[in-house]
């Protein structure tokens, strides 16, 4: 049956299936980049990859995020085989794409699909910084847009977990236009009463922040996540001043009114479920 076809594409929670992780060296022990605490990898995994000493939130792969967010760790994936072209014939781009695929075992920097959270059917998109620094080119834009359209079509809530270095330079104008494309799709979804929860994770910057990531009905973020438009170095060079350490952190953004809530990873599923629950009356119309 049709449905069975997609069961193959489900992501399971089995840690052994995970691709090579760059941020955390394989092995028994892990060192926290923030406090230097050395902890057992198993302990770290059990703690949802949050430092047991200082609470630093390690960056997750899309698979890890799906495993800890979705009911049974399951996502019925959309467009799993979609891959980027090289519309500009940009020097080195094609080779770099292949290298990123080999490194991560992914086809692109976002995984989209449908599943449920605490029983609430949802459409979910999860970006992955490990693939091409989570940059948005045509494929990321298209997959996100299709996810939005699917949510609109099926009248489901939408949750996007963002992490991105920004728009992908190697597709220049095509990347830039994905900002307009995703935002326009969100406008239609929103106009019809669609619920969109944006979750910004470390780091969310550039064209992704300046499009769909900032357009949630609710904008959430993980603690300590870097969230901003321009890069720190560029800003420091422009204003000729050193910026404070907490500049562009989730907490900084919260303080400046740019976020609804900073949510610890251990509470994320609960908060999402609560929000979903509070909007579950809507779809009756």
């Amino acid at each position: 049956m049709f449905k069975d076809l997609f069961h193959k594409k489900r992501y399971a929670t089995i840690p052994a299936e995970r691709p090579v992780k760059r941020d955390i060296p394989e092995g028994l022990m892990n060192k926290c980049p923030k406090c230097g605490n050395i902890q057992y990898s198993k302990e770290l995994e059990k703690n949802l990859k949050v430092c047991t000493s200082c609470g630093y939130h390690f960056r997750l792969t899309a698979r890890e995020r799906i495993a800890m967010t979705m009911d049974d760790g399951l996502l019925h994936e959309f467009d799993a085989d979609m891959q980027s072209g090289d519309p500009l014939g940009f020097p080195g781009y094609a080779a770099k794409l292949e290298q990123q695929k080999a490194k991560t075992g992914m086809n692109e920097a976002v995984v989209t699909g449908t599943g449920s959270i605490d029983g609430h059917p949802v459409v979910v998109g999860v970006m992955d910084f490990h693939f091409f620094t989570g940059s948005m080119g045509s494929v990321v834009g298209e997959k996100i847009t299709r996810a939005i359209e699917y949510a609109r079509d099926k009248r489901l809530p939408l949750i996007l977990f963002s992490t991105s270095g920004g728009a992908r330079m190697q597709e220049s104008i095509f990347s830039l236009m994905q900002m307009a494309k995703t935002s326009a799709a969100l406008a239609r979804f929103s106009d019809e009463g669609g619920l969109y929860i944006s979750v910004m994770t470390d780091p969310t910057t550039g064209g992704v922040t300046a499009s769909f990531a900032s357009l949630g009905d609710y904008n959430l973020a993980e603690p300590g996540a870097l969230i901003g438009f321009a890069g720190r170095i560029v800003i420091e060079q422009t204003i000729r001043q050193k910026l404070p350490d907490n500049f562009q952190t989730a907490e900084f953004n919260l303080q400046h009114g740019q976020l609804d809530k900073v949510v610890h990873r251990k509470d994320m599923r609960t908060v999402l479920a609560k929000l979903l629950d509070m909007h579950s009356m809507r779809r009756a119309e």
């Binding site: 049709f2 449905k3 049974d72 019925h76 994936e77 959309f78 467009d79 085989d81 979609m82 891959q83 980027s84 072209g85 090289d86 519309p87 500009l88 940009f90 449908t114 449920s116 605490d118 029983g119 609430h120 494929v139 298209e142 847009t145 099926k154 728009a167 330079m169 597709e171 104008i173 990347s175 830039l176 236009m177 994905q178 900002m179 307009a180 494309k181 935002s183 326009a184 406008a187 239609r188 106009d191 550039g206 300046a210 499009s211 900032s214 357009l215 969230i227 901003g228 438009f229 321009a230 560029v234 800003i235 422009t238 204003i239 562009q248 740019q258 629950d277 579950s280 009356m281 009756a284």
Partner: protein, 366 residues
Amino acid sequence: MMAGGLEFEKPLLELRNKIDELRKFAEERGFDFSDEIARLEAQYRQLETEMYSALTAAQKMHIARHHQRPTTLDFIQAIFTDFIELHGDRLFADDLAIVGGLAKLNGVPVTVIGHQRGKDTKDNIARFFGSPHPEGFRKALRLMRQADKFRRPIITFIDTKGAYPGDTAEERGQSEAIARNLLVMSTLRVPIVCVVIGEGGSGGALALGVGNRVLMLENAIYSVISPNGAASILWKDASRADEAAEAMKITAQDLHAFGIVEEVIPEPKGGAHRDPEGQAALVREAVWRHLQELMAMTPDELVEDRYRKFRSIGVIGSGGSDAPPDPPRKPKEPEAEEERAEPESAAGNAADESADASAAIESNAR
């Protein structure tokens, strides 16, 4: 005539100087060099044609950034009548990096908005070199919503290196301001014509760029990041901007070929700054032509037309042709086993959604 000549224009400048000197010499000494001068003039015209018909992306970038290039306010003054500038975002400040207001185009009231570079250093500092803060984007948004309310067409002029990279800009939500413009522009029920008159840099440009029609001047450029920025990120060397300009395919001709830009508006030889008035006439003609077509459309058609334009942009290498899977079953669908007491919960309505979690996971796992 060659005032403000660019580096690559040097051969032309040198030839021009040679002709001028020869002419002066002939006049002073009373010689007749008219044949020689005519020959050099022909050579000059040929060189000029060759050079300007085969400009590289980097050369166009330098023309687009020329300090004498006409700005948004120059075009507004030349193209429209009765311009009334309007100020402020009603939230924080008036960002001079974006100007906007009411004007008439061939008698039709329109809202006109654009990035505004400075004319000199002092002006540039006041205008942040045409790089807006959130309040600039929010001023533009306010004016666009106002246009929507009063059913006025919107014309935007794009000319910025990008949104201002500053600490206070971040504090006030630079990202949200840009994103909001993209979202709202896509929904406006009036015609929107955008013209890239100089440099279209990044999200700061696009924030005024979600139009039914996007036109570009012949030497204008439009890219996801400034070529300088791209070079410093890609090769850790901002001085390789010319190379990045070529690689990113930033020219009006490239974007026209990609179908992202509807029309390339020709420039005088050497660039818009050589004949601002003539340039303005060409822009007026093109904008008016597109506007007339759009004004014949209904508000629904305009919104749909704009959505289609942006929805279709993107190049997929392969894949993505499989139909998406069905969503997981909602808990306690009508066909689920449990009996329901309340009659009002009959048709998959609100009561279904408040099912308890354990039932949901079970049904999902099946």
